[in-house]
């Protein structure tokens, strides 16, 4: 392997490139999911409110649907946190990969990820 002196400026660029690449698609996916969920939960809230107001949702289901509006908001937040965790994992690994690659080239060894 040809040894290359580690250039901090080039490494910084590589890290930014790796981070941007890792985050770019994920941010769009997470944003799209969040928008569609917020719209769906708002629609569900409106449906339940209408059903309760006009009596088309029976007495025995009213509390159930209302309780689930809270549950689905919590579940949405929980899912969002899960997605962000995956995105952060990919980000950390992309950054470590870029650093690792640069050090490997400078040290003349292949560092395992």
């Amino acid at each position: 392997m040809e040894l290359q002196e580690l250039d901090p400026t080039a490494l910084a660029k590589d890290i930014i490139g790796a981070a941007t690449g890792a985050l770019g698609k994920d941010v769009s996916t997470i944003e799209g999911f969040a928008q569609s969920q917020v719209a769906a939960i708002a629609h569900q809230a409106s449906l339940v409110a209408k059903g309760i107001a006009d009596g088309s949702i029976g007495q025995d289901l009213r509390e159930y649907f209302l309780d689930n509006l809270k549950q689905m908001a919590t579940s949405f937040a929980n899912t969002l946190i899960g997605l962000v965790e995956v995105a952060i994992e990919k980000l950390i690994n992309a950054i470590v990969g870029a650093i690792w690659d640069a050090i490997g080239k400078a040290a003349g060894i292949a560092l395992p990820l």
Binding site: L3, E5, L6, T29, F33, S36, Q37, A40, I41, H43, Q44, L47, V48, K50, G51, D54, S56, I57, G58, D60, L61, Y64, F65, N68, Q71, M72, T74, S75, F76, A77, N78, T79, I81, G82, L83, V84, E85, V86, I88, E89, K90, I92, N93, V96, G97, I99, W100, I103, A106, A107, G108, I109, L111, P112, L113
Partner: protein, 185 residues
């Protein structure tokens, strides 16, 4: 190789040559020692069987709701729908079991280590979710279908109630599918 968040083991790494030590200096050697190589894992591994199972159960569920959309049901004809309820709930419970087994084989990540690292450089801690999102969302879908079945059997469903069950189940299902698909990385 994976880092403490998983049970991965470190493989032997060739020692640096004297030339390399001289060239990269002690600072980088410290970085090498600190990073100690490794990818981190903060979420479960992707399992195509779980993602496929969820998509398949979702197709069955959406077909069922599409057939009921805009209609009302009566207990007298519940038997016509009983099989569909059983198919959907059974498929979802099977996926739920798959997720449980998958999680037991790949334990939940430990965010404490990541948060300790982030804290040292002044980055606020990441919040930890309550449970793994996929499993939790699937259990909500199962509960929705079971409640719908119970109510349908007892006194039938209005068109609005069907629409509300549909909306609720679809929101939870969307959360589960999105999360399980996002694990593919």
């Amino acid at each position: 190789m994976t880092f403490p968040f998983s049970s991965g083991t470190k493989s032997p790494r060739p020692p640096l040559s004297g030339f390399a030590r001289h060239m990269i200096g002690p600072g980088l050697l410290v970085v090498v020692a600190l990073l100690a190589a490794c990818t981190v894992r903060m979420a479960p591994a992707y399992d195509p069987a779980i993602a496929n199972g969820l998509n398949s159960a979702n197709r069955t569920m959406q077909t069922f709701f599409a057939g009921l959309s805009g209609t009302t049901t009566k207990p007298a004809d519940f038997a016509k729908r009983q099989g569909a309820y059983a198919d959907i709930i059974g498929a979802l419970k099977a996926v739920s079991l798959q997720i449980e087994i998958h999680q037991s084989l790949t334990p939940p990540p430990d965010l404490k280590t990541v948060n300790a690292m982030l804290g040292k450089i002044g980055v606020p801690n990441l919040a930890t979710g309550s449970g793994v999102p996929g499993a939790s969302a699937v259990s909500h879908v199962v509960n929705t279908l079971e409640t719908m079945e119970k109510t349908d059997r007892k006194h039938g469903l209005s068109a609005m109630e069907i629409a509300a069950f549909d909306g609720q189940a679809t929101i939870y299902m969307s959360q589960a599918i999105t999360y399980e698909t996002f694990l593919k990385r």
